[in-house]
């Protein structure tokens, strides 16, 4: 049936013009649904019709899928749209999308919506960040003012500026690593044989100058895993605010907040109202009375981020006091898994600032064997100290 429909698109004289119009229309439809298709893909699909029988629905579907889709995640939505378009031409286009977007709740539709929301914020981001950091008192958002006061109580503009610098430096240290690739250098431990040989060519066999090569710097991926339960909330919020203030400077970063459940807030990092977002998330998702379930949240992190962010070039930073009310075995096994997948794990604990503090609580005890660094972050000095330590150790 459907195949007959498809054939009829050719028109009586067999001319392919109407069919191409349909292909273009279909491409536009995909685009509207959030699946990006570029003209060269559509050309490929048209070319492929030379080789396959368009009357065979399955083959035509396979061809369209192979030429137009480049992500597995889009396949479901694609097959839906494909059926809608090529099987039943009676449905008006505008009516279809709400349904398909609902079906793919976390898919293209939502992403597109989010993108729309983000767009205005994107354009203003740098200036905006400047404004907040420079003078928090003058911002127009009362909620923000309140939070800044609450989080960074008694901090002057100068201190705030300093805090931003320290965080920027900390992130720079965490985010850079030595690549295995080389680039030319004035001095170094390794000779660049290729270059030496080429340079000495004009002088016959004499090698006048040695050339060196050294490892390039590459970017790490960074995961920030912040506890927002109880007293930890103000530290996490402080840190996240500072990171957001740097906005576009950081790429390859994943920020998640957790208490009983984990929520990724990376998509919101560029938004002006990040405080509002954190607050909403805390209200919605996090069960404040339920205590912290670090193991369960780590598990969510391990599962959700396994492909995108967890690799041998990932640095995971956990900000928590380690008071865990969940299953210690689960936490151990999840820490173990995280340990295997990422390059470094750093645990920042505000309680460590207290001279009498001993990491005796169950959660901290469980986590300690898997950590590369266990550092205090109760105030700016300690943060700066931590930064200095990491710089000496890593670079």
């Amino acid at each position: 049936m459907h195949s007959n429909d498809a054939v009829s698109q050719r028109g009586d004289d067999g001319a392919s013009v109407p069919l191409i119009t349909h292909i273009v229309q279909f491409g536009r439809k995909l685009h509207d649904a959030g699946i990006d298709v570029n003209p060269s893909n559509l050309i490929d699909l048209s070319r492929s019709l030379l080789y396959i029988d368009i009357a065979n629905y399955d083959d035509f579907y396979a061809a369209a899928l192979a030429t137009l889709i480049i992500n597995r995640e889009d396949m479901e939505l694609f097959s839906l749209l494909f059926r809608e378009y090529w099987q039943n031409r009676e449905i008006p286009f505008e009516d279809e999308f709400p349904a398909s977007e609902e079906k793919n709740g976390n898919g293209a539709g939502e992403a597109r919506q989010l993108q729309k929301q983000l767009q205005p914020a994107d354009g203003e981001a740098p200036g905006d960040a400047e404004e907040h950091d420079g003078d928090p008192e003058q911002t127009g958002y009362s909620s923000r003012e309140l939070l800044v006061k609450k989080d960074i109580d008694g901090m002057t503009d100068k201190e705030l500026d300093e805090a931003r610098k320290i965080i920027a430096e900390l992130i720079a240290i965490l985010a850079n690593r030595k690549s295995r690739r080389f680039s030319p250098a004035k001095s170094g431990q390794q000779l660049d044989f290729r270059k030496i040989f080429r340079r000495s060519m004009p002088y016959g066999e004499y090698c006048l100058k040695l050339s060196y090569k050294t490892h390039r710097l590459k970017k790490n991926k960074l995961i920030l895993f912040c506890d927002v339960s109880g007293s930890m909330e103000r530290y996490s919020r402080f840190l996240i605010q500072l990171i957001c203030a740097m906005g576009a400077k950081i790429s390859n970063i994943e920020v998640a907040v957790f208490s009983t459940r984990m929520t990724s807030i990376t998509p919101y990092l560029n938004r002006k109202d990040i405080d509002e977002v954190i607050k909403q998330m805390s209200d919605q998702v996090h069960d404040w009375a339920g205590g912290t379930n670090i193991g369960g949240c780590l598990r969510e992190l391990n599962e959700q981020q396994a492909h995108q962010m967890l690799s041998s070039h990932t640095v995971a930073v956990i900000l928590s006091d380690g008071w865990d009310q969940g299953d210690a075995d689960l936490m151990r096994s999840e820490m173990e898994q995280l340990r295997r997948r990422v390059n470094k794990i750093i645990w920042l604990n505000p309680l460590l600032g207290n001279a009498n503090y001993q990491p005796l609580c169950k959660g901290m005890q469980t986590a300690l064997p898997f950590l590369d660094h266990f550092l205090p972050v109760h105030n700016l000095e300690s943060l700066s100290e931590a930064t200095r330590l990491l710089r000496t150790l890593w670079h």
Binding site: S48, L50, D58, L65, A66, R72, R181, H307
Partner: protein
């Protein structure tokens, strides 16, 4: 080159690769349109095998480039053989070659170490199959470089000139998706996701690859694997594991699955200690019971799960 989708299905089947119509169509289009084929899927579902079988079906060379982080143009494209070049200069001196002539020939092809990409482009005769395996392991720089090579199939070596492929190779890229590749690269390719096979297809594969196996055992194996893949393991077993297991059970002379057998041969299918621990006691009993009760032949939709 292939002339129809059916021909590919047949050829692949002859080589012992059971391809569904969807994959066959994509391969057919890739060879006909001259576009690279980008295969993605979980480890062990037979991505690399597609390239091997493709080369065999076309009776042509398979040139393989295994990607890893730090792979650079010197290892993927070409490198001058410095030692031979230096030796050549010394030899010419020793032979008393005229001073102006010395070293004139050292940038000739005989001093060129050809790496896979250059090999694929220079190859004479039939179009070779170029397998770029596990592209997700390479880094961004290499990805960008590959984009360039795959778009016009030509390579410039400063000392020699530009080498253009007389006939572009058939390119197959595979990815386990440990990282997301850039869209630009994928856009230049035909994309195909290879999923875990259906029970019917997997049974077919087992019977093709391990022909000596009895049908009862192979049905049980495939059913058991199907159940396992529904569970939440760190590394779910692929077809490669199924075949390993079938071979292992066959060489142990086992006719039917039982608890002891599964426990002793578990390392064939689950490669992580935590996964093995997960499949023990009750969950194993349950899976085994479902497997044993499964009498329906291939094609019958399965019911029940471990938990």
């Amino acid at each position: 080159m292939f002339h129809s989708i059916e021909e590919i299905e047949q050829q692949f089947a002859t080589q012992g690769y059971i391809a569904d119509r969807h994959l066959a169509t994509t391969v057919y289009l890739a060879t006909s349109l001259g576009k690279p084929l980008y295969l993605e899927g979980e480890p062990g579902v037979g991505k690399t095998e597609v390239a091997k079988v493709l080369a065999k079906s076309l009776d042509t060379d398979l040139i393989r480039l295994q990607c890893y982080e730090g792979l650079d143009t010197n290892l993927a494209l070409y490198e001058w053989n410095y030692l031979r070049q230096m030796l050549e200069v010394r030899l010419q001196e020793a032979r008393g070659v005229d001073k102006d002539e010395i070293g004139n020939n050292i940038f000739e092809e005989q001093f060129l170490l050809k790496r896979p990409l250059l090999q694929a482009i220079q190859s004479a005769g039939k179009r070779p199959v170029l397998l770029i395996d596990e592209i997700d392991r390479s880094d961004d720089e290499f990805e960008a470089f590959l984009l360039e090579v795959l778009s016009d199939f030509q390579i410039t070596i400063p000392e020699v000139g530009t080498i253009k492929a007389e006939q572009p190779p058939i390119v197959v890229l595979t990815s386990n998706r440990t990282r997301e590749m850039h869209d630009a690269l994928k856009r230049r390719c035909l994309y195909h996701w290879i999923d875990y096979p259906t029970l019917e297809k997997e049974l077919n594969i087992v019977l093709t690859k391990v022909p000596e196996i009895k049908e009862t055992l192979s049905t049980q194996i495939c059913k058991f694997m199907e159940l396992l893949r529904r569970e939440d393991f760190y590394k779910r077993p692929g077809i490669a594991e199924t075949l390993d297991w079938a071979n292992a059970l066959l060489s142990l002379g086992i006719d039917e699955l039982d608890q002891g057998t599964i426990e002793t041969t578990l390392s064939c299918i689950l490669k992580y200690k935590q996964d093995q621990d997960k499949l023990s006691g009750e969950s194993l009993d349950k899976a085994l019971a479902v497997t044993k009760n499964f009498k329906g032949g291939p094609g019958v939709s399965a019911q029940g799960s471990i938990n």
